[in-house]
Amino acid sequence: MPEAVPQNGGYMIAAYVVAAVILISYAVSLYLRTRRTLRP
């Protein structure tokens, strides 16, 4: 009988969300810092 595939999709979703949050936060931080620097 074939072994069942582990049910751990929640971990995968958590990791994908965390990575997206980190990358988007950094992109936004770069944008805001640049805008603040360019402000007269």
Binding site: E3, V5, P6, Q7, N8, G9, Y11, M12, A14, A15, Y16, V18, A19, A20, I22, L23, I24, Y26, A27, L30, Y31, R33, T34, T37, L38
Partner: protein, 230 residues
Amino acid sequence: MRMLRVGRWITALALLLLAGVYVRALAFTPVERLQGLAQKIFYLHVPAAIWAESAMVFVGLASVFYLFMKDPRLDRFASASAEVGTVFAAIVLTTGPIWGKPIWGTWWSWDARLTFTLFLFLLYVGYLLLRGAVADPATRARYAAVLGICGMCLVPFVHFSVYMFRTLHPMPIVLKPSAPSLPGSMLATWLFSFAVFTLLYVGFVTQRYALSYLREQLEAAAGDAGMGHA
């Protein structure tokens, strides 16, 4: 300003393509039989790890050249690469434990690969703190260059720790002397993800470099204005 615009466009394109990586990894890549869906964390964790290590190598190389040539562009690049490397190291250190918990049964283990990766992250943080703590630009660049070279020396220990020590962390699956041990569809998804992380690195570093340049220009302009008043 042109560099800033180019950096923004590259970053925007990379973030758009990252959405494509998510779709491909989640919907069009087979599920690994033994690890289940958690194995798909691999498509983010490994490219982020490669760029966290590579960014520090670039910091170190730029630092070596800076110490000889004293070119501020090299210091600016090292600073930008270090900040972006910190971001990628943060992804590695968060996605790694999330992957480890269902597979190893624990969030963290003080084994060589994990500990060296934590050292790398702390070295990045120390590098950025050092840059923030020294006011004189020439002294800051010199101190940061020394720390950057130390960081570069740590990278081989991070990468080869799985060969040098007995670790819980698996051996490299893609970056190794023999052919990658992955089925074609998984390898294609990984290569796509790696290309997108490369684009993210380039976009972020370009923007961060342009931001440093802008700040230096403003500081110089403010200094000139101050001299004029005096």
